[in-house]
């Protein structure tokens, strides 16, 4: 009878190799490292006017370490006052393409810029476009 009990112990031990594996491994504290990209500068856009619509287009910008940026923010500057504001009505927010058309632009003389954007990140704003006049 005792022999059968011993054989049962042997069988159970052999069937649970996980118990040995669990005691075999060990955890060590430490750290891993990761790195973020950085946005580059925007390229000076072109701007053309048709009535009160202004179409702005530009070429793609890159991260400083390579790779095309995912979006752009477009701003419009009043040539007379120099005050800038975010473009509206078709060019607001983050634009993922390389062109947009701002509708219902107020009367005046305007210049546009584009700034690379990714989430809350912003790159260097481009130079200003040629002046467009909305009558």
């Amino acid at each position: 009878m005792r022999a059968w009990v011993l054989l049962l112990v042997v069988a159970v031990a052999a069937a649970h190799p996980g118990g040995a594996a669990a005691a075999w491994s060990v955890a060590r504290p430490g750290s891993v490292a990761a790195k973020a990209k950085a946005l580059g500068a925007g390229n000076t856009p072109n701007a053309s006017v048709t009535g009160r619509k202004v179409t702005v287009s530009w070429t793609a910008s890159s991260f400083t370490t390579g790779g095309v940026v995912p979006g752009y923010v477009v701003r419009r500057y009043n040539v007379t006052t120099g005050v800038g504001t975010g473009a509206l009505n078709g060019c607001s927010g983050t634009i993922t393409g390389l062109t947009c058309t701002e509708n219902s632009v107020p009367t005046g003389s305007w210049q546009y810029t584009v700034t690379p954007a990714a989430g809350n990140w912003r790159g260097t704003e481009s130079g200003k476009s040629t002046v467009v006049v909305v009558i």
Binding site: V10, W24, R28, A33, P70, N120
Partner: protein, 161 residues
């Protein structure tokens, strides 16, 4: 029916060995923890060293993207070790080299890595790339551009002799 006859001494010895194996006591000699017990007979194992891998990072994170984490491990033991998992420390805080504004909102998350088979030779130092282990949300602060992030982890390994 086949009958196997074994002496009681043999059976007791067999059972005792099986019990030690089941509890891992016999494996303590090969553990990298260096904390053996009364059953250890082999060379005492030394702890793995997790080094600074920041110099080997490649910039690949930006809001909305995933990237790789780098892990640098030194194995001071005279036997090879296999890394099987890398998990973020509970309550651990991810920090950057860009200061408070970035640290307050890195937007970085680490996905625990399990089922790994990263081998470190005896006495070697090796740097591993954990592809896709890190992601960045749109919450990342603007000052995090170009940052190197330090992510506290627990590295689990075992003798691979």
């Amino acid at each position: 029916m086949i009958t196997i006859r074994l002496s009681r001494k043999v059976l007791f010895a067999f059972a005792a060995v099986a019990a030690l194996v089941a509890t891992g006591a016999l494996y303590a000699a090969w553990s990298t923890s260096g904390s053996g017990n009364g059953y250890a007979k082999a060379t005492t194992a030394s702890a793995l060293t997790i080094g600074d891998a920041s110099a080997s990072t490649t910039a690949d994170l930006y809001p909305g993207a995933t990237g790789a984490a780098k892990l640098k491990v030194t194995n001071p033991n005279p036997f090879p070790v296999r890394i099987t998992s890398v998990t973020k420390q509970t309550g651990g805080t991810i920090t950057s080299d860009k200061g408070a504004a970035c640290n307050a909102s890195t937007g970085v998350t680490f996905t625990d890595q399990t089922g790994l088979a990263l081998d470190v030779a005896a006495g070697a130092t090796q740097t591993f790339t954990l592809s896709g282990a890190v992601s960045m949300s749109n919450a990342s602060d603007n000052t995090c551009q170009g940052a190197v992030f330090t992510i506290p982890v627990d590295v689990t390994g075992a003798s691979n002799a």
